[in-house]
């Protein structure tokens, strides 16, 4: 399987690609160790281990260049299906691992819950906005974090406005969620556990098969040649084949479920960070309806280190920084063209707002939602893809290369 380059995502000007950037590598490794120790000290060992799982996710995402955004864009524009196939593979493995685990309800005293969301108006609007925003912002939930960790300063702007959009979304979610919806639909409740697993595997295979069929009818370019790097060096420095990334991301998502009690998710942390910043400048966020709901209220009142999603996001950024150091590709560049900056701002806002309305991003809703048997994950995928088609068409207006 060829590597899927994401030119707008990973730092485009690697200073010394292929040579380990020792200062950055050492800094990142020490930062991961220090952060995991601090979280363990402040909360508990399991929370510290979640930071390490996040770091592993960041390293895998970076080394495999596992970008949902670039994969979709590549298919929309060039009918290259390798990214989509890898996404279907990682979700398929996660379905086989996560759905049976959820059926246990708890493991080792840890209660387990899936990534569920109601199917309705809010989801459709949110997923469309997210799909549109991810093409303008240059990365999705996971993509934004791992490219920030990799040193992409433009994506730092996207992240800042992702957070802004998410916290605005919390102000409006109660209104949106009161619009017509079918409620939460869990396929395992409708069909039973194993039929639901089988049905989802068939559906994922069908998506991969259709994408491959379309690719064969359109593809003109030859596949990229395989790298000649020795395996040991490739393991350490990348690039990894997408299929390695697919397998490892699914395993790490299942590990997240048994450690955190819920599958991998990203954007709840963005709400929380934004809300805490607003409180710091005197905005009475705690009185907003969303923040009076028990879980958000508890998160807002407590330490950010108590929130599993935040801790994993911190780890993800540091893991990507480590990977960028190992790959010798850490080369932040602050020269951002104004139109590209505008796209980063707009894309970030749309993704943040869309993630809140859509009950998750490409990870919480798409990856973990489908792996949890939640119908909202499938609806999210379909609608966000349509939004991405629109987003890809808008990219040239912002001077972004297609």
């Amino acid at each position: 399987m060829t590597s899927l380059a994401a030119p707008t995502a990973i730092s485009a000007t690697p200073a010394r690609a292929g040579i380990i950037d020792r200062p950055i590598t050492i800094f990142a490794a020490l930062a991961i160790i220090a952060a995991a120790s601090a979280v363990t000290q402040a909360v508990d060992l399991r929370q510290g281990s979640l930071l390490l799982i996040g770091a592993a996710l960041g390293l895998v995402l970076y080394h495999a260049s596992f970008g949902f955004t670039a994969g979709w864009r590549s298919f929309i524009l060039a009918r290259r299906a390798d990214g989509l196939r890898a996404q279907m593979l990682t979700i398929a493995i996660a379905v086989v691992l996560i759905l049976p685990l959820l059926a246990l309800n708890e493991i080792g005293g840890q209660k387990l819950t899936g990534a569920y969301g109601p199917v309705g108006t809010s989801l459709v609007v949110g997923a469309f906005l997210f799909g549109l925003g991810m093409q303008l912002g240059g990365g999705c939930g996971s993509g934004t974090l791992f490219t920030v960790g990799g040193g992409n300063l433009r994506m730092l702007v996207t992240l800042a406005f992702f957070i802004t959009g998410a916290v605005i979304g919390t102000a409006h979610l109660p209104w949106w969620s009161a619009l017509p919806h079918l409620g939460v639909v869990r396929l395992q409740d409708v069909f039973g556990l194993w039929p639901a697993v089988a049905l989802q595997l068939v559906a994922l295979a069908a998506v991969a098969g259709i994408a491959t069929w379309i690719e064969r009818g359109h593809r003109r370019d030859a596949p990229a040649p395989a790298t000649a790097l020795p395996l040991s060096r490739r393991l350490l420095q990348g690039p990894w084949p997408l299929v390695w990334g697919a397998v490892l991301l699914a395993l790490l998502n299942a590990l997240t479920l048994v450690s955190a009690g819920h599958p991998w998710s990203i954007t709840f942390a963005f709400n929380l960070w934004g809300a805490k910043l607003l409180i710091a400048v005197g905005v009475p966020v705690a009185s907003w309806e969303f923040w009076t709901w028990p879980m958000p209220a508890q998160a807002l009142a407590g330490s950010v280190l108590a929130d599993t999603t935040s801790v994993m996001d911190f780890g993800l950024i540091l893991g990507a920084l480590l990977a960028a150091g190992l790959a010798g590709k850490f080369a932040p560049d602050w020269r951002i063209p104004p139109r590209s900056l505008a796209a980063a701002i707009l894309g970030g806002l749309l993704m943040g707002y869309g993630a809140r309305l859509g009950f998750g991003c490409n990870i919480g809703a798409f990856f973990s939602g489908i792996a949890s048997g939640s119908l909202h994950g499938w609806v999210w995928f379909a609608i966000a893809f349509i939004g991405s088609v629109a987003g890809v068409r808008l990219r040239p207006l912002f001077g972004l290369a297609n």
Partner: protein, 70 residues
Amino acid sequence: MTPRLIFLLVLLLAAGAVAADHWAARQRGANVTPIRAGEAGTLGRPSENSGGSVDKFCGFAPCGMPLPCE
């Protein structure tokens, strides 16, 4: 100042903000019980509390959205 230093400075600022938030939470006496599914506070109880515009709920999606009871 090089972009590398700016980037690392941003990371350090973020780390400082996290540390300040944690310190402030401790000063307020807020607990640092990890917020994990089914562990802290009311999260584990499949109760029928008020969930704002969602009248009844029996748990939470990871985004914090109350899930209605079956």
